[in-house]
């Protein structure tokens, strides 16, 4: 079953065509990597899919209902997002940040209930951030921060989680840790995960589907093994690459 469908979507700002003619359907309970060079439109695509911006043309549907027909609140109960970097001048504790993930279910006047704390605790345990709960967000390392924001996304209990370059500033060990965590989340909750990645070996190892963008156009969308081939990578990134099949590592030459 497909949970996200995009039908011929376009996005332009003024005269600049940023995304052109994208159509795809993402199956429920899968991990899809979005790859492409800087400026190819990956972040814009995520924003469109979660309804923060509206396509100039075309239709996006989540669970067979047009994104534009969801209220902001309904949408927030369906999709949670982890952004590239969240910096704030204000010293929230880790627990406060994760608890904010319950906001989609709360009204203006309701306070955090026992249930909210319970879900918050579960999300933090699942992401290995429970021991950090009283730390200030700005005192954490990049990897810890990213795990906290993934905990926040989990705490929203949404079917879909989107992540924009969540591992961009992490070392290899922590990159793999985060990717393993995402796979585990996907398995346990049957979540649908969309993730913008630069590292093609991570994309190969950890995703079911790959959506490749170039200059605002969708060049490929298919099962990982069909997209990440030597020829495709060459045409996408204008580099030579070699895939070492047994351990899925891609080496640029």
């Amino acid at each position: 079953m497909n949970i996200i469908t995009a039908n011929n979507i376009h996005y332009r700002i003024k005269d600049k065509e940023i995304l052109k003619n994208l159509s795809f359907a993402i199956p429920k309970g899968s991990i899809t990597s979005i790859i492409g060079m800087n400026g190819s439109g990956k972040t814009t695509l995520l924003k469109l899919l979660c309804g923060i911006i509206k396509p100039t043309k075309g239709e996006i549907a989540i669970d067979n209902k047009a994104v534009k027909d969801y209220s902001i609140k309904e949408r927030s109960q369906k999709i949670s997002i982890v952004f590239q970097s969240v910096d704030t001048d204000f010293d929230f504790s880790v627990e406060q940040i994760v608890l904010m993930g319950r906001m989609p279910y709360q009204t203006l006047l309701s306070s955090d209930k026992t249930e909210d704390f319970e879900i918050c605790k579960q999300s933090m345990s699942a992401t290995g951030t429970w021991h950090l709960r009283n730390r200030l967000i700005n005192s954490l390392s990049g990897g810890e921060k990213q795990r906290v924001f993934i905990a926040r996304a989990l705490c929203s209990q949404t079917d879909i989680i989107m992540l924009d370059e969540p591992v961009a500033n992490l070392d290899t060990k922590h990159q793999i840790e985060i990717m393993k965590l995402l796979r585990q989340i996907q398995k346990e909750n049957n979540s649908t995960i969309l993730i913008v990645l630069h590292d093609l070996s991570l994309a190969k190892k950890f995703s079911d589907y790959v959506l490749a963008l170039k200059d605002g156009q969708m060049r490929f969308f298919d099962k990982q093994e069909n997209v990440l081939t030597n020829e495709n990578i060459k045409s996408l990134f204008e580099i030579n690459a070699k895939i070492v099949e047994n351990n899925n590592v891609i080496i640029a030459e």
Partner: protein
């Protein structure tokens, strides 16, 4: 957060006691000793000191909460209605109302004051919205330029209308002398509604501090939230300024100290700032009236004497963090 609730209630009670004590000191001591309770003393007590102390509490709490609100909307711990020129805007509105003779009408000063304050905040918003994130420097420069512009206009007005000069001067300095019960009541109504409104939005303000997109993804209508909180707190600021003139730095100093003590959660910062603001203003007022026996210092100069060095210190810290 739930786990704080019982403990916080205790703190609030304690703070309420401190505020009451300071209010008592404010009523009891001043340039005239009223301990013998002659008719003249009674007049001073009921018609001058009590309304004045009440206004002090209302103004302090309101300005402190407005500071919290501005800081959340602009995502910047250095913003507040005074720094951004909104208070001056309100005082300009009040001055215009005076020279146009509107001050005898009901809300004849408050409404023009609100209108100009709102215009100021609108310009600040536009100026600082260059790019997606608002930088401290842009925001502060916008505030400084608005303050320059407004004080230039006020000087021109004072020059043209020499008769009302002292009245207008009063608005630029901030003073609690001559506060009447009617002022107390009007300001209280505006402030009570305004503070309640901002407090209800506290949880959303928390989310705003993580960024607009993050807040949107948590189900918040960011534009609507920002606009309504900003309009309401500007209205409160104008209500206070049109009675007391410009009293600076309360909205900067108080939330900042509260934040150091209770953390970043606006649901706790706002109630603590209500008490903190009242305490700060009461102390400033007691100083303003008792430091020199011959006359009274403008309260605005006292708060600025404390607030300006504090601001410089914050700026220094921010600079260290950003290396600019």
């Amino acid at each position: 957060m739930t786990k704080h609730k019982t403990k916080d209630f205790l703190y609030y009670t304690l703070l309420a006691v401190v505020v009451s004590l300071l209010a008592f000191v404010g009523i009891r001591f001043g340039s005239v000793d009223i301990s013998s309770m002659t008719d003249a003393d009674k007049y001073i007590l009921y018609s001058i000191r009590i309304p004045r102390v009440l206004m002090c509490i209302i103004a302090g709490s309101t300005l402190a909460v407005c500071g919290c609100a501005y800081q959340a909307v602009f995502k910047n711990p250095l913003s507040d209605p005074y720094i951004l020129g909104v208070s001056s805007g309100a005082s300009l509105g009040a001055s215009l109302a005076i020279i146009l003779g509107l001050d005898s009408l009901l809300l004849g000063v408050t409404l023009p004051s609100f209108a100009v304050a709102l215009l100021t905040v609108f310009v600040i918003m536009k100026l600082s919205q260059v790019g997606s994130r608002m930088h401290t420097t842009t925001l502060l420069l916008a505030g400084i330029s608005m303050n320059f512009l407004i004080s230039a206009i006020v000087s021109v007005i004072m020059f043209i209308d020499k008769e009302d000069m002292h009245k207008i001067y009063f608005w630029t300095m901030g003073s609690l002398s001559g506060v009447r019960y009617s002022d107390v009541v009007t300001t209280f109504v505006f402030s009570f509604i305004g503070i309640a409104f901002v407090w209800i939005y506290a949880k959303r303000l928390n989310a705003l501090l993580l960024g607009d997109m993050q807040a949107t993804s948590l189900g918040i209508d960011v534009e609507k939230t920002k606009k309504s909180v900003l309009i309401v707190s500007t209205l409160m600021t104008a209500a206070v300024v049109s009675c007391t003139g410009v009293i600076g730095f309360v909205g900067l100093v108080v939330p900042h100290i509260v934040r150091l003590l209770v953390g970043a959660d606006n649901r706790r910062i706002i109630p603590f700032s209500i008490f903190g603001g009242a305490m700060f203003m009461l102390c400033a007022d007691i100083l303003a009236r008792n430091v020199i026996t011959s006359s009274e210092l403008p309260i605005g100069s006292i708060t600025s004497l404390v607030g300006a060095p504090f601001f410089i210190y914050l700026l220094y810290n921010a600079k260290k963090k950003l290396h600019f």
